[in-house]
């Protein structure tokens, strides 16, 4: 693997952050979510049950990040990176998947602030030529400023 092949323009984007976006977590959104995926857990629909649980309020299901909680400026980051990639002749984009890491539960009524960061850009020589692995990190903070979750999305460009 060689780092030399990445243009300075692309390399300079590592560490770039997006504007924060703000989302409110509503009970109705959690209910619609649980109903849609067929998850009968009362933590997602029954306020009384949730209040008596160790969470004290309805909580977000695991799959809640990505959809409907988007944010984090994924599109904004892509918008910043794309022109440089196109210039480098890397048009084909593959979704390399998203990893989630959770730190504290997110409750209905929480206000999440998220921001995105271009965490890493690596170059690899694949069978069909040069490939770029771009890792974009989205961090979600709750209203107390505590880190609630981090999503790491990888985009492969070739």
């Amino acid at each position: 693997m060689t780092e030399a092949g990445i243009s300075d323009e692309i390399k300079a984007m590592i560490g770039t952050m997006t504007e924060p976006s703000i989302m409110e977590v509503e009970r109705g959104a959690i209910r619609r979510f649980a109903d849609a995926i067929g998850d009968p857990n009362p933590l997602y629909k029954d306020i009384e049950y949730a209040k008596n649980s160790r969470y004290g309020e309805m909580v977000c299901p695991i799959g809640f990040f990505g959809w409907p909680i988007k944010g984090g400026g994924l599109e904004q980051m892509m918008g910043m990176i794309m022109p440089a990639m196109i210039k480098a002749g890397l048009f084909r984009i593959l979704d390399g998947g998203v990893d989630y890491e959770f730190f504290i539960p997110i409750h209905a009524g929480d206000t999440l602030t998220s921001y995105g960061k271009v965490a890493d850009i690596r170059e690899r020589e694949g069978k069909s030529g040069k490939m770029l692995f771009i890792t974009m990190e989205q961090t979600y903070l709750n209203q107390n400023g505590d880190k609630a979750a981090v999503a790491r999305a990888t985009i492969i460009a070739r």
Binding site: E24, E26, R27, G28, A29
Partner: protein
């Protein structure tokens, strides 16, 4: 007494006025937004807090037909009886007493208000009118809905 030839039985009449199980619905930003987007109604009164503050309402309110949905509980929880199998929604009527405000918790309770029968092209038809009363968290009636269901 059941009238001669009437399809409305005493058993059905006994259901008039019996209140159904309540539906509780929170008027949240997301719910109003979904509604406004579904009918493609860009009125800032439904979504823009800064704008809505300056109006006579002093804050975001819901569009007029907002509570006319199964999610908000219109016509829900009411035991219906009909000699016929097929049911059509015939129409809805809403009466407004108070604005529906963002943040309200609305409790809907329905009941059968009346029956009517009519002779249609394909025989008898039963019109069941369900009245749904929507109250806010201050126990004020905000909307009364009258929904007509036609079975035939």
């Amino acid at each position: 007494m059941t009238q001669e030839g009437s399809i409305i039985t005493d058993e059905m009449k006994a259901l008039i006025g019996v209140e159904g199980s309540p539906t509780v619905f929170e008027v949240e930003t997301g719910a109003i937004k979904m509604f406004a987007e579904a009918i493609d109604d860009p009125n800032p009164l439904w979504q823009d807090e800064d704008y809505a503050k300056k109006t006579k309402y002093g804050g975001i309110i819901a569009p007029p037909v907002f509570l006319c949905s199964p999610r908000a509980g219109i016509g829900k929880g009411v035991q219906m009886k009909s000699p016929f199998f097929r049911v059509l929604a015939g129409g809805d009527e809403l009466e407004y007493l108070k604005p529906i405000r963002l943040g309200d918790t609305i409790t809907a309770v329905g009941k059968i208000a009346e029956y009517n029968e009519r002779e249609g092209k394909r025989g008898k038809m039963l019109f069941t009118i369900i009245e749904t009363t929507f109250k806010n968290q201050h126990d004020e009636v905000v909307v009364i809905g009258r929904s007509t269901y036609i079975s035939y």
